[in-house]
């Protein structure tokens, strides 16, 4: 993917660029808002990573300008300001996601992945399927290999989120935000317990597991390769 990083701290920018390149992305870096606006207008990017605090211009207003100009490239805000209000502000002006510094790189990669996919799948779906797992959004029923699986409402929502992002890594924070609308990390690793329960119902009686643990990052739901 082609990614534009708008970040004034050169050290942070080069670290971001290096990490993203190692993950197989093509990266352009702009060190201030002006350059960022120019590049965003001149080139096509799949995703933009924008720092909230830029010299001479707040990242918020930069995204506002881009959105007003009709640019709808997905934007992920990076900021040291991590309060819920700051996140909400970022999403209100047209940001698609928000990450507080310092962040885990795996978290950033997972979020970029999901952002770009979400853009691709804009049509409303009533059925999701991964491998032999099927989820019907209308009847709220789940089947694996034709066998009905009984899920609690929250488990259903969690599975739906995993299936919508099948193949991508989904971090614990992303699950908390999208399934529980919790914009903070609880003290205990509650997500792991929920995933363990879901595994009990989805994977336990089947030879191939669909829910995979991605060490140091989170989880990924995907059918067996091949």
């Amino acid at each position: 993917m082609k990614i534009l990083v708008i970040e004034d701290d050169r050290q942070a920018a080069s670290y971001l660029a290096k990490g993203l390149k190692e993950a197989g992305h093509v990266v352009d870096v702009a060190n201030d808002g002006k350059e960022g606006l120019f590049l965003a207008g001149a080139e096509h990017y799949d995703v933009m990573i924008v720092d909230r605090m830029l010299p001479g211009r707040d990242g918020l207003s930069l995204v506002q300008v881009l959105r007003a100009a009709g640019n709808d490239t997905p934007v992920l805000f990076l900021s040291a300001l991590g309060s819920v209000d700051d996140r909400v502000k970022g999403l209100k002006v047209g940001g698609d996601d928000y990450l507080t510094k310092p962040f885990a790189f795996s978290e950033l990669l997972a979020r970029i992945e999901v952002l770009v996919r979400r853009r691709g799948a804009a049509q409303p779906q009533t059925r999701l399927s991964v491998g032999d797992l099927e989820l019907d959004l209308l009847s709220r029923s789940v089947k694996r290999a034709g066998k009905a699986i009984d899920l609690l409402p929250r488990e259903f929502t969690l599975l739906e989120y995993l299936m919508r992002n099948a193949g991508s890594v989904v971090t614990r924070t992303m699950m908390l935000e999208n399934v529980w609308d919790y914009h903070f990390d609880p003290q205990t690793n509650v997500i792991d317990v929920h995933i363990a329960r879901l595994r009990q119902k989805i994977d336990k009686d089947f030879p191939t597991p669909l829910i995979h643990t991605v060490r140091g990052a989170g989880y990924s739901l995907r059918a067996a390769e091949g």
């Binding site: 991590g82 309060s83 819920v84 919790y182 990390d185 003290q187 205990t188 509650v190 317990v193 329960r197």
Partner: protein, 481 residues
């Protein structure tokens, strides 16, 4: 040396004078003084004019009457009669009347003046002259007012009054008016000075206090004079502001101290772990990998602590109060229970949820959710495997809008420790073994304070060997936040 002192004294005096003139209060006092003196002067001027004018009018009338009488006399008895009357009247000792009758050539026929005054009479025949120049009845250097006219036969008659008494009166009046005006001015000036000095002293006291505070001593307060005037109100507002600042500063200092104390340890652990890894040279990449993984775990713990501290600070600053929205507490409670139920289940604990009502409160949903999940987190952590945890949401009752109770069957917190556990980083010895940063209850407390709610710690099963902990978040009725 002494000269210098004198110069210094003079300089100080001048500076004080300048400060005084620059002081608003003094300028006001001067303005009042000017107005005051002007109005008193005007009143006195009017009094003077009327008094003096009245006396002069009286004299004028007396003279006019006398002249009319003399004219009648002249018409009745001729010149000799007039001369007789004038002579008789002039001879009366110590009288203030002045007469002079002369022929056209200026020969004096009768009267008590030695010669015709040189002063030119005005249009109505009035004239003023110095009595002494013409040898009046007295040798007083006083002035006289007289009327002159010419009788048939070219005889000239002058009838007048010695004005010395009036003059004296006038002088006396003038002098006393001056005194009155002068003392008024002095009193006004003195009063103004005293007033402005008083005001200045109090403002100076406020300035002194603020300087003291700027130099870092926050304990100082502005003195009050107990008059309850606007200066006192200013002082008490300043003091209230200082109290608030001091509280915030104390809180900040506590945080800084705790951060320094509680974050240094893991940071230095982190550092020495990396350092040791570098010292022991090895070919085995796994060793390095393990160290790096441990490092990430440690760093994550540090970050979580920081995040928790920031959340507390955010809740404590109260800045979010303007963003309050109606929050459905039942949703908050159900969601938290939903999130933690599997965790309790894993430890064989039974988590029961009871929604007795569906109250709404104005607040911050995220912070309330965080508070409730912290309470559940604690309850699960400190309740032994197989214990029970109950989460109850209740609606309005006298003195409250809503109440959230979290009760467990754990060891509880002894009464004397209950205030302490709300402080940051405080962990009881019983809790040392379990993971945590000692910020959970501090955050709940901060969120409660932000929402004007009470946080009550009690026992869920009083008298039992394991009394358990019961934490209640009691929300105040609307309009009492």
């Amino acid at each position: 040396m002494r000269q210098e002192g004198a110069a210094g004294g003079l300089h100080g005096f001048l500076a004080a004078g300048l400060r005084l003139v620059r002081a608003t209060a003094f300028r006001l006092a001067l303005l009042y003084l000017a107005m005051f003196v002007l109005s008193v002067g005007m009143i006195l001027g009017v009094v003077y004019r009327t008094t003096a004018g009245f006396l002069e009018g009286e004299i004028g009338e007396t003279i006019a009457l006398e002249v009319a009488g003399l004219q009648d006399h002249y018409r009745g008895y001729g010149l000799s009669g007039l001369v007789d009357v004038v002579r008789t009247r002039s001879a009366v000792p110590n009288n203030n009347s002045i007469y002079l009758l002369t022929t056209a050539a200026g020969v004096i026929l009768a009267g008590n003046l030695s010669g015709w005054p040189a002063a030119v009479p005005n249009a109505s025949g009035w004239t003023h002259f110095k009595v002494a120049d013409y040898g009046g009845v007295t040798n007083r250097p006083s002035t006289a007012q007289a009327v002159t006219f010419t009788l048939p036969g070219q005889f000239r008659l002058l009838v007048g009054r010695d004005m010395s008494e009036i003059d004296q009166l006038r002088t006396r009046m003038f002098r006393s008016l001056g005194w009155i005006l002068g003392s008024t001015a002095l009193l006004g000036l003195g009063g103004g000075l005293l007033m402005s000095r008083g005001a200045m002293r109090r403002i100076e006291a406020i300035n002194r206090t603020t300087r003291q505070i700027m130099s870092g001593d926050l304990s100082d307060r502005v003195p009050r004079f107990g008059g309850g005037d606007e200066m006192d109100r200013l002082a008490s507002n300043l003091n209230a502001m200082l109290d608030r600042i001091e509280r915030l500063m104390t809180g900040m200092r506590q945080v800084t101290d705790s951060v320094a104390h509680d974050l240094r340890t893991p940071l230095s652990r982190l550092r020495s772990r990396i350092e040791l890894a570098l010292l022991h040279e090895t070919e085995d990449a796994e060793v390095y990998r393990a160290v790096l993984q441990d490092t990430i775990v440690e760093a994550d713990r540090l970050l979580a602590t920081f995040t928790a501290l920031l959340s507390i600070a955010e809740a404590e600053s109260g800045a979010k109060r303007q963003d309050f929205v109606p929050v459905e507490l039942a949703e908050v409670v159900e969601l938290a229970a939903d999130l933690y139920e599997p965790v309790a289940d894993e430890r064989g604990q039974r988590l029961s949820v009871e929604i007795r009502a569906k109250p709404m409160v104005r607040g911050n949903g995220q912070l309330l959710a965080q508070a409730v999940s912290n309470l559940l987190d604690n309850a699960i952590k400190y309740t032994p495997d197989g214990g029970t945890i109950s989460l109850v949401l209740d609606g309005p009752a006298p003195g409250r809008a809503a109440c959230i109770d979290v009760a467990d069957s754990g060891p509880g917190i002894p009464p004397e420790m209950r205030d302490k556990v709300l402080q940051r980083f405080v962990r009881l010895d019983t809790a040392r073994a379990s993971p945590g940063n000692g910020l959970g209850l501090s955050l709940v407390d901060a969120v409660a304070t932000l929402h004007g709610a009470r946080l009550e710690l009690g026992e869920s099963a009083p008298g039992q060997p394991a009394p358990g902990l019961k934490v209640s978040l009691v929300f105040p009725p609307d309009g009492r936040r």
